[in-house]
């Protein structure tokens, strides 16, 4: 029994079968990577997990509960967080505030009317947020307005925001895209240390094979909306189907 | 039955005005993304193009009478129309046809006003928050309106339709009704045809030229369009001129139906926003459809049979329909996703 179980999920966009009978089983406390060519349906699948899209048919179970038909915030409150492919942050707020918001949401639930509390008195929340920022290396910039960040920094911020919620399942859509190599390595280390420090499950979509192979416990390969292979990392590289559909001949890493 | 047809005609007529104003508004609002509270004022300026033109061609020379005095004891003014004394019958004709003829004046004038407005003011506001656009265009609307008040006073100024178009047309006989069942004022019929032509023209222009696509693109992302080598500023200016012209023409032709006064624009402002939004942001056909829909519903809600069932329904019908439509269709009749939703 995995923490996330996906059965026979289908999704059409007009004439396009974006997801074609997808089955997926993610074991608890593992890093599960999803790879596949562009347009294979990876992000669409993730959207079905977080309530952005509803699959046409099929079931998605998280910890034994169905996610279908739930609102995004409900799913998040169940312990599912997501880093988006294009960074989604609160551009008008400071970096620290950006991280404090998920921390509040984690502590207070989906809604809390607290007009007379003071943010600045919430030292625990702030300390927690600062710790997350330290982890991703943004703590020095905490009072900067988020819109003025470079793209790589925005990704890191979003990661910190998700981590601040202490999620059970963290969905990462290309977390290192656009990151400098040095930072990519840092991110790998960060994710590894998080995975070790606490019970957390990762689903990672990534095109950087270096990242995939450094992190993944298990890999699913998606092509044209279909899972063509699911296997342990060491078998993926050699799989001819994967080479043909995804890695290409010349891949030499 | 005749009553129903008449109310449909009324609705179409009202709808024509709503649709024309909303068309210009949605070009600026739904397409350029500027909340233009001065759009009603453009409609009003159009109407006053007709007033001014009429005043110019019926210019009179004034001489003071030596013998007669007014009731208050000053010398009586003797007025002589200038144009007639120069051109005779043609002058008379011109005065009679001043409303339709003033279209020729209104087109360049309104275009110029639109272009000036865009160049001089609006373009600095494309990237500003909507709230600031509202403040500045509302301020502009007040200023324009006060200027008109300064020159023309607050009272309505009648603009009669040409003599030959002033009467009634028996519309019913075309539809197979008996004579006299569905008579309709000729000028209102003219207005309807005119609106249809303008709407068709604008649609054709935006569909069969790349202009529309560029403007839509420019609204979504000005910078990228610029990086593709297109001078988007110039196109926006044109677009604004076009929208102002459409609003102005709607105003010119409406003057025989509603004697214009300086406040005319404000009266139409709210309703035109409602029409645009009910039609759906960013959709020209939506704006036109909503204009006609609201016009017709408003006419029907005013029928005595309806009013006796629901007192006061004619006063709120537009808003009621707006609420119902917006709640059942999230983006109005034909709105596009993502336009002015945040």
């Amino acid at each position: 029994m995995g923490i996330l179980e996906v059965q026979n999920v289908n999704k059409r966009f007009g004439g396009l079968q974006a997801l074609d009978n997808v089955n997926l089983n993610v074991e608890e406390n593992t890093v599960h990577a999803i790879i596949g060519p562009n347009g294979a349906g990876k992000s669409t699948l993730l959207n079905c997990f977080v309530g952005r899209l509803t699959p046409d048919t099929g079931t998605v179970m998280f910890n034994g509960q169905s996610l279908i038909g739930r609102k995004p915030h409900e799913i998040n409150q169940m312990g599912v967080s997501r880093v988006f492919q294009t960074p989604e942050i609160f551009t008008d707020l400071t970096i620290l505030e950006n991280v404090m918001i998920p921390a509040f949401a984690h502590r207070d639930g989906a809604f809390k009317l607290s007009p007379f509390a003071a943010v600045k008195a919430e030292t625990a929340i702030r300390d927690h947020a600062e710790e997350m920022l330290r982890d991703v290396g943004l703590v020095d910039k905490r009072n900067m307005v988020a819109s003025a960040m470079s793209r790589g920094d925005k990704r890191r911020l979003e990661m910190a925001m998700c981590l601040a919620q202490d999620p059970k399942l963290l969905l990462l859509d290309e977390p290192t895209a656009g990151m400098a190599r040095a930072d990519t390595n840092n991110t790998i280390d960060l994710l590894k240390s998080i995975a070790e420090a606490r019970p957390i499950t990762f689903v990672v979509i990534e095109h950087d094979m270096h990242v995939v192979f450094s992190l993944a416990d298990r890999i699913s390969v998606l092509a044209q909306g279909h899972v063509i292979v699911e296997d342990d990392p060491q078998f993926i590289k050699g799989n001819p189907k994967v080479r043909e559909a995804y890695l290409g001949e010349a891949h030499g890493e | 039955m005749g009553e129903i047809v008449l109310q449909i005609l009324n609705g179409l007529d009202k709808g024509s005005a709503y649709a024309l104003i909303a068309l210009g508004l949605t070009l600026i609002f739904g397409t350029l993304g500027v909340v233009n509270f001065a759009h009603g004022a453009l409609f009003m300026l159009g109407a006053f193009c007709a007033v001014t033109f009429n005043a110019l061609i019926s210019y009179e020379t004034v001489t003071l009478s030596e013998t007669e005095v007014t009731a208050w004891g000053t010398a009586l003014e003797i007025r002589e129309p200038l144009l007639q004394s120069w051109f005779g019958d043609f002058g008379l004709w011109l005065v009679d046809y001043s409303v339709p003829v003033s279209i020729l004046v209104a087109i360049p004038v309104m275009f110029l006003i639109g272009v000036t407005m865009e160049r001089g003011l609006i373009r600095f506001f494309y990237s500003r928050p909507h709230a600031e656009q509202i403040l500045v265009t509302f301020g502009l609307a007040i200023v324009l309106q006060e200027i008109i008040k300064k020159f023309y006073g607050a009272n309505p100024i009648p603009q009669p339709a040409p003599e030959s178009l002033r009467g009634m047309m028996d519309f019913g006989v075309w539809l197979g009704f008996a004579e006299g069942v569905v008579p309709y004022p000729t000028w209102r019929f003219v207005y309807f045809i005119f609106a249809a032509l303008i709407i068709g023209g604008v649609f054709a222009f935006l569909r069969y030229t790349t202009f529309g696509m560029v403007v839509r693109a420019g609204m979504a992302d000005r910078e990228t369009v610029g990086l593709l080598g297109i001078d988007i500023n110039k196109r926006f200016t044109w677009m604004f001129g076009l929208a102002a012209t459409v609003a102005g023409l709607a105003g010119v032709m409406y003057t025989p139906i509603l004697s214009p006064d300086y406040h005319l624009g404000m009266d139409f402002l709210v309703i035109s926003f409602v029409v645009v939004v009910v039609g759906g942001m960013g959709s020209l056909p939506g704006a036109v459809a909503a204009g006609f829909l609201l016009g017709i519903l408003q006419s029907f809600a005013s029928m005595n049979e309806v009013k006796s069932l629901l007192p006061g329904i004619d006063q709120i019908i537009i808003y009621l329909v707006a609420v119902i439509i917006l709640l059942t269709r999230p983006r109005g009749l034909m709105g596009r996703a993502g336009v002015m939703e945040d």
Partner: protein, 424 residues
């Protein structure tokens, strides 16, 4: 008791100093009635001049009371402040309050709508100053909403009905089907009630009363049902811009060329405004209505006023200007006669006061409801105007006796003047 100035050790609100007295002219300066407001203001300025002994004296020369001498009021020079009512009750009250509280006005006057008049009248009552209503035609102003500190010179809807009815009978007969289009607010309703009562007395039949939203602009959807009814007369209980539009559009829909029940279809506009009627252009020709006063009247008072006004401004005054001018003079005269600015003294001086020479013939300010009773003019749109101001012609002058009613007439019932309030 309401006290606006507890500190002032004076007997009444805003007691004037030794040298000057301030009046508050509260007129619409924006909105649809701005031109009417501007004309009222002109009249006020003229009245102030005349009171202060400048200009030709206007109606001071023809006024039956000779108490005023052109030396201000009780020897104080008349000064004034102006404000914008925006034709909204709220704004008008705010403006009046600032005149009273900031500028020390002892009398407020003006306005171009009944809602505003009633609202400001109530305010003046509370504040302890006199309110001399401007143009207000609804029955309520001196009916259900009458106040001891408020006075109306203008005529009202009941009087319009009573005056029009005989003329309508004479011209259109006693057998007519009337269709009412009525502005959907207080004034419209009282006029509809008054006119329909008066015409039904003649034997006319009221086929339909339709309420139209204020400022509807396009009335076509209310006019077409008239075509399909068996009405042969359309009564437009609209004023100002609504009147201009509904009349223009009714004519556009061919109502005047229509024959219904074998009779020529007719339109009636019970309350005319000459200023606004210009906006309807040709369409007013031959249409009956009533008015409080018209500049073409030939009596001495009217001529004196038209002369001063015309020479000052170059065109003749409107009925709104006339009533405002007269009200100002009447107030000043009452103070002068009472020898006191105290509102209660003024009330006493004005109640049941009879005067003449102000353009309406002998007039009574009735004490029971503070309404003036005087002749009412029935007018008709002129067929061959000689100039742009020559729009209406007076066809009949209904004597005051025919338009007089009891203070507790049902259309005016429910009101209570209360007692005069001097403030302090």
């Amino acid at each position: 008791a309401p006290t606006f100035f507890t500190s002032a050790a004076r007997a009444y609100t805003n007691a004037p100093g030794a040298s000057s007295v301030t009046l508050g002219f509260n007129v619409p300066q924006s909105g649809a009635y701005a031109d009417e407001g501007a004309d009222e203001l002109r009249a006020y300025q003229l009245a102030v001049k005349h009171l202060n002994g400048e200009g030709d004296g206007g109606m001071l020369n023809t006024f039956s009371s000779k108490a005023l001498e052109g030396s201000g009021i009780l020897g104080r020079r008349v000064e004034y402040v102006t404000g914008d009512t925006q034709t909204k009750s709220d704004a008008a009250r705010a403006s009046a309050r600032s005149m009273i509280e900031q500028d020390g006005a002892i009398m407020i006057t003006g306005g171009s709508s009944s809602g505003v008049a009633v609202a400001v009248q109530a305010l003046c009552q509370d504040a302890g100053v006199i309110f001399m209503a401007g143009l207000t035609h609804a029955n309520d102003t001196t009916g259900k909403d009458r106040r001891a500190n408020g006075f109306r010179h203008f005529f009202n809807a009941y009087m319009s009905g009573a005056a029009l009815a005989p003329v309508l009978e004479a011209n259109y007969g006693a057998d007519r089907n009337a269709y009412h289009l009525t502005a959907d607010y207080n004034w419209g309703w009282t006029q509809e009630e008054s006119i329909s009562a008066a015409t039904e007395n003649l034997g006319w039949n009221t086929v339909q009363k339709v309420r139209t939203p204020l400022g509807a602009g396009d009335f076509s959807q209310y006019i077409t049902p008239v075509l399909n009814s068996d009405a042969d007369t359309l009564i437009l209980n609209h004023y100002g811009r609504d009147m201009v539009n509904s009349l223009t559009q009714a004519v556009q829909f061919g109502l005047r060329d229509r024959v219904s029940n074998g009779k020529d279809f007719q339109i009636v506009v019970p309350l005319y405004s000459r200023l606004m009627a210009q906006g309807a252009g040709e369409n007013v020709k031959g249409i009956f209505g009533s008015t409080n006063w018209h500049w073409s009247l030939q009596d001495e008072g009217s001529q004196a006023f038209v002369r001063s006004f015309g020479q000052e401004y170059g065109f003749p005054p409107s009925q709104a200007a006339h009533t405002c001018y007269v009200q100002t003079l009447l107030y000043a005269d009452a103070v002068q006669r009472a020898g006191d600015f105290n509102p209660c003294a003024v009330v006493e001086a004005l109640e049941d006061y009879e005067f003449d020479g102000m353009g309406n013939g002998p007039t009574l300010y009735r004490g029971a409801d503070h309404q003036c009773f005087k002749d009412v003019l029935v007018v008709k749109g002129k067929d061959n105007p000689t100039n742009q101001f020559d729009i209406l012609e007076v066809v009949d002058v209904t004597p005051a006796s025919q338009v007089t009613y009891e203070p507790d007439h049902p259309m005016f019932a429910g009101g209570d003047l209360g007692t005069c309030n001097p403030g302090a």
